[in-house]
């Protein structure tokens, strides 16, 4: 008889188990801490993430040439792709922990549950990157989403935070319903929840197949909600604006990485036989997403809303990678994978600067609050400039490498119109990112209170800065890593 789980299966989920254990430890440890010692929760969270990351790097070196390990009867896949995505998720979560400690003190919401929820969200995201079974994927997605909702509403005294959490929760629950509807139809078609089996069954079906179209469209609509693609983006600016800034940073990066890993698994491993259909859908959604994201960002005055639309436009670029991938172009997926890495660092870096604007008497989330930053804190202004250049995709920053590979894959597969459109929107993006630069460098100084910076923020800004520049100037090792990550995906 086939053994459904064995020792190796549990070893494969060791990073997830470690992070879960540390999250539980924080919940217990929190009771022992005095109010002024709450920063130690952040330390425990970082240690837990460190253990997880160490385990993952060991997996990475051991996976080397193999195709990857399939555990739990094919429900869990440990391949280089999963390890790559999980490493980005852990690093992003770690950076958010670093950014949070000081910020939570200012907000007066320094509770241990915050860090526990961050780690639980990371666990959900890690399972999302490894799941190859619809049930595992759905539960992992819900685990991630539930933590996000609670964290968005974490500032209970703030009406904006409450409102954002309720909106996020209602739309999130609705999108989960759509997703589940698509999944149930796929299960009905294939008779299995395993992605590999679904792919095989879909390939056997006669060509005009309306049932699988309905399944695909509802499933993808659910995922579009999660990644904030137009026309399923409405929750994004509201949730981003109301959430605590450190959580805005978190939900704009880590869940995007996890959701795209999930997206890649679904499209490349599960729905590969339907690539002609989903390519068409993706082209429409990607163009709409880039258009709306870029144009709506121009008029924003609140910086968190601004970054909400900026995220939407980046999602549009990421989706373009799938258009190239549908033509069998490996580089399309490689481009997505590189873009995710780059995006994680530059976006967290920019949020690191925004978080510093929050003071006891100032919310600091209007673009005007950044006015005259150059005279107040020149170091901060230059850091922000580098992150904004990277977000706009100017060389020699990392953002350029991300966009370059997307354009390259589009040109290789002959989607010239899309490539031209994408470059055009990059110019629009340059315009609105420079609105912030103008505010920082040209406008008068409204206040001269010096900016206090904690140790955690220093480290986080340092890491994001180094990575943003390093990937831009010396991208070869990162490209090689991304190629290695994509290798097990195509059969």
């Amino acid at each position: 008889m086939y053994a459904f789980f064995q020792r190796a299966d549990y070893l494969a989920i060791k990073p997830e188990i470690l992070v879960t254990m540390f999250a539980l430890a924080i919940l217990l440890f929190d009771f022992l801490l005095e109010k002024r010692d709450k920063w130690m929760n952040a330390l425990v969270a970082l240690i837990g993430l460190g253990f997880g990351a160490a385990q993952l790097t060991m997996f990475w070196s051991r996976l080397g040439e193999g195709a990857g390990y399939k555990g739990f009867g094919g429900a869990f896949t440990l391949d280089t792709f999963a390890v790559y995505a999980k490493l980005i998720i852990i690093i992003a979560t770690g950076l958010v922990v670093l950014l949070s400690a000081k910020y939570l003190e200012v907000e007066g919401a320094n509770f241990g549950e915050y860090y526990a929820l961050l780690l639980f969200a990371a666990v959900g995201m890690m399972f999302l990157a490894s799941g190859t079974d619809l049930i595992v994927l759905f539960i992992a997605l819900e685990l991630m989403a539930l933590c996000e909702y609670v964290l968005t509403g974490f500032l209970r005294g703030s009406r904006r935070s409450n409102e954002a959490a309720v909106k996020f929760f209602l739309l999130g629950a609705f999108s989960s319903g759509l997703l589940l509807y698509g999944m149930s139809l796929l299960y009905g078609i294939a008779g299995s929840t395993n992605l590999a089996v679904i792919s095989r069954r879909l390939a056997e079906r006669p060509s005009p197949d309306p049932l699988s179209w309905v399944a695909m469209i509802t499933l993808l609509a659910g995922i579009y909600f999660k990644v904030a693609a137009v026309p399923f983006h409405q929750w994004t600016p509201d949730a981003y604006e109301g959430a605590p800034t450190s959580i805005t940073a978190f939900i704009s990066v880590a869940p995007k990485v996890a959701s795209f890993a999930f997206f890649i698994r679904i499209l490349i491993e599960g729905l590969w036989p339907m690539r002609a259909e989903w390519q068409l859908l993706t082209i429409g959604v990607a163009v709409a997403t880039m258009t709306l994201g870029n144009l709506a960002a121009i008029t924003q005055t609140n910086i968190k809303r601004f970054f909400g639309y900026s995220t939407i436009s980046h999602v549009g670029y990421l989706l373009l990678g799938f258009v190239a991938a549908a033509d069998g172009n490996r580089e399309g997926v490689t481009a997505i994978v590189i873009y995710l890495l780059v995006y994680a660092f530059m976006n967290l870096g920019a949020f690191g600067v925004i978080i510093l604007m929050r003071r006891r008497d100032l919310i600091g989330d209007e673009i005007d609050d950044l006015s005259g930053l150059m005279t107040r804190a020149p170091g901060m202004a230059i850091l922000m400039l580098i992150f904004l250049l990277s977000l706009a995709g100017i060389p020699p920053t990392a953002g350029f490498i991300g966009k370059y590979f997307i354009f390259l894959s589009l040109i290789e597969t002959g989607h010239y119109t899309l490539a031209v459109l994408a470059v055009g929107y990059a110019v629009v993006a340059l315009y609105y990112y420079f609105r912030i630069v103008v505010a920082m460098f040209m406008k008068k100084v409204p206040d001269t209170v010096p900016i206090a910076m904690g140790m955690g923020v220093r480290v986080a800004l340092g890491v994001t800065l180094v990575m943003t520049l390093l990937i831009g100037i010396y991208p070869q090792p990162f490209i090689a890593m991304a190629r290695e990550a994509v290798r097990p995906l195509f059969l």
Binding site: I13, A75, F120
Partner: protein
């Protein structure tokens, strides 16, 4: 048997609509109990007695009783109708109908005779236990973390301000 299925299915769809359309929360909750009980009957028709019993005990019994209690304790009155968006009515309703027709057409295309072949499976408690702790042990374990997070979230959002 087939007639019983059609009756249960039709009534449960109507009751589900009633859950959404009712303005008084208690009526919505009661309709939801009806939906869950009718689903249990459908499970029974499919030969899944264990799932049917669990459905009634856990969902219709425990969870919905809790719902009704909370609604009564909060003394939730009638819902105030909000400003309806015109777009939702003129664009949403036709789109919903179009989507339903498409699903109907797709399913019809798949099963022209109107019935799908019945699957042959054992749905007793032992078989479900085997499935849960062998094939689906991973989702089962992750669900336990999910439930913990749900409890944690409820505590975080509901505890008293210090």
């Amino acid at each position: 048997m087939e007639i019983l299925f059609y009756i249960c299915a039709a009534v449960s769809v109507l009751a589900a609509l009633n859950v959404v359309l009712q303005r008084t929360p208690v009526y919505s909750a009661l309709s939801l109990i009806l939906v869950l009980c009718l689903l249990a009957v459908i499970y029974l028709l499919l030969g899944a007695e264990f799932i049917a019993v669990i459905q009634v005990i856990v969902y219709a019994g425990a969870i919905m009783v809790l719902f009704v209690f909370v609604i009564m304790l909060l003394n939730a009155g009638r819902e105030v109708p909000s400003e309806r968006s015109r777009l939702a009515r003129w664009l949403g309703v036709p789109l919903v109908i179009a989507f339903l027709l498409e699903v109907l057409w797709a399913v019809w295309n798949q099963f022209p005779s109107g019935t799908a072949p019945a699957a042959d499976f054992d749905a007793g408690p032992a078989a479900i236990g085997h499935l849960l702790f062998r094939n689906y042990v991973l989702p089962f374990e992750v669900t336990s973390v999910l439930i913990l997070v749900a409890i944690l979230g409820a505590v975080v959002l509901a505890k008293k301000e210090e």
